[in-house]
Symmetry: none
Subunit: 214 residues, 4 copies
DNA sequence: AATGAATGAGTTTTCATTCAT
DNA sequence: TATGAATGAAAACTCATTCAT
């Protein structure tokens, strides 16, 4: 993961202008959606001229794709840290799932614009961008599947007939909860989560393993 | 300006043309999203002229809102049929939840275009349309909450500290599963569900009450 | 001049529908101008259907022209009543000019919509309509010229080197005063004249013959 | 978005393109009226692309208003130069009025398109533009009123009971004469005045002070 | 690297007019 | 005569992209 702090000596190779443009675009995409965001607005927010945008990016679409792909890598990294080394009790499992989710939810809350675009607004974009967004969630699900298969391998979860379906449901649950927690019922980027990441993660993990009755 | 009088001999209340336009628009919105759907495409698909669209609708935005509001009413109706009259066992509860979900999933599959717009593409539209879509899911959650409160009242579910949160998680689960089941990982309108509505409903209901471990 | 009162027995040959359409159109043209008035508004105001308009008129333009030509005839008639039979003193002349102007101003105030279109809004219409309006004022000036020539013939006015120029100036004065008196500085159709027709006529007539110093 | 900085070496403050567009628009508005002038015609006449228009102006209406306000300032400036310093004889007064009118008429003839829009065609435009035009004539009348009050103050004109009414009549006379002199009876932009500015000004001034009998 | 004026294809919307009934 | 749904040719305006400087 690239550093976010800019050193005074400007050693990191990514030009500052590009960063500013990325950030401005992500915020606007998150708030207003892809089509309702004009390049003219992005460059104004970044404080550069129209032409400069086209020096750093091939165009609006390509930029959005780069934004998405960058987000995917950071997201997958978070989940892969939940990969189990050893077996443990059921409570261990619930706890470690809660930990993973806490990390995920905290990351998400620290990258609200990215998540808003990936979870909500990205589907309003053009086909290529939509594909890139879909691939994020496929990679996300894949990362979760690895974790679940590992838990089965370690005898911590029963041998499901259809692991994919279970993972599918699991990921649906997580993205669903995540979306509502982050953005509320109205999908508002400025919504402030009412629970802490740890709280919602614990509740979700409990539901994950034990359902409404547990 | 549109005539409101219905001739007695006319059984279907809605003019043919308007229906065709609605259907064409919904299909295109579902497939390509709001902004990538041009009015010119809608009218071509419906086989009418550009001006005819504006005879039946005030504009693109207003039409989308009407589409969404119409969908909301139909959707809520499905859920409200799951309201419990009497208490029962846990298996009863799982079964009846599975029944409700089966109805919901079947309805969704019979209205794929509507669901694609409500679940996925609607967020890419303009503010007013997005609001209307958000309201659909608020109404949806409200309807579910009524059912859950009723189950608690009948002693079938424990007295949760935070009912709203539980319902929230529940609805997240359901919409998440529904989206993936209907449109697959790539959010493809032409995706064909691999499980029947009853199968996915049963699996979801089990997860709902018992989680991964159940 | 055709009667304005509709007899109960409907003896006048002009269909009522046509009258209603004319009146509605004139009011809208006067208020909003030619291009800002839609046929759909005219027919709604007249309480008939869109198609009916085209039974009575060939189109929007032709209708406007008919409106204008009808107005011209009525207007010229008023001025021609000021034609002198006998000579008289200067005061006679001022008085009889004031009388003529009083008649004109009263007529104008009773036909505010017509005058608004002729004096103000007509110039915003299409070429043919504009021509028709211009012709009204040519006819108007012609009628005045006849009166002035007659006054010269009777020795009541000096033998101008350039009668046309004098009449020109005279008519400019009259239409200018008329416009401001009827519609105020903002050209508002709903403006209420602050002076009576007789007052403004007398003042104008005095200015006409004696100028600011008189 | 438009640059505000003027390079030191650039003497004329207004970008060339904007000037060309203004001029083209004014000519077309004057000839064909507001609604019959299409933006596509304006840009073609100015030799730029459609988009360029919207770089310099917010839209058709806003441009028309800017045109009108610019014209108002220039017009008022002409009249204010007629403000009297000292008293004088009646002949002085007639002469200096003739001088003022000569200036006005010359200015008008050098800005025929502007005057055609202000005097004739502007009333066919949209409400906001019409308001702007009306305000021009209010400012115009105000400027004249100042001059008349000054003449009364200097004892050169009698103490009228109703100065506003007199000024009103005076301005009606002047705009009326001006319109006919510039554009003839048919309101033709290509009409060539038959009298010189000085001739018509003198004639008007005489009429102004002495009327038809003078 | 950076600017910002210029482009023009594409979009929604309007509205006078037509025509089957 | 009368209706009102249907038409389609424009019109204003947008905005991603280009390019001379």
């Amino acid at each position: 993961m690239k550093g976010v702090l800019i050193l005074p000596s400007q050693t990191n190779e990514e030009p500052q202008r590009e960063q500013e443009l990325r950030q401005a675009a992500l915020e606007l995409f998150a708030r207003k959606g892809y089509h309702n965001t004009k390049i003219s607005e992005v460059v104004k927010a970044a404080g550069v001229s129209q032409g400069t945008f086209y020096w750093y990016f091939d165009g609006k679409e390509q930029m959005a794709i780069r934004l998405v792909e960058n987000g995917r890598d950071k997201l997958v990294e978070v989940i892969e840290q939940g990969y189990r080394k050893h077996a443990g009790s059921v409570d261990d499992m619930v706890n470690s799932s809660a930990n993973l989710l806490t990390n995920l939810f905290e990351f998400a809350n620290e990258n609200r614009n990215l998540m808003a675009f990936l979870l909500i607004k990205g589907q309003g974009a053009d086909p290529k961008v939509r594909s890139a967004v879909s691939e994020v969630w496929i990679a996300f699900e894949e990362a979760f599947k690895k974790n679940v298969l590992r838990a089965i391998e370690l005898g911590m979860l029963p041998q499901f007939t259809d692991v994919s379906l279970r993972v599918n449901i699991l990921v649906s649950l997580i993205t669903g909860v995540l979306t509502k927690w982050l953005f509320g019922p109205l999908h508002d980027v400025d919504y402030e989560p009412v629970y802490t990441a740890a709280q919602i993660a614990e509740e979700t993990a409990r539901f994950e393993f034990r359902g409404l009755l547990g």
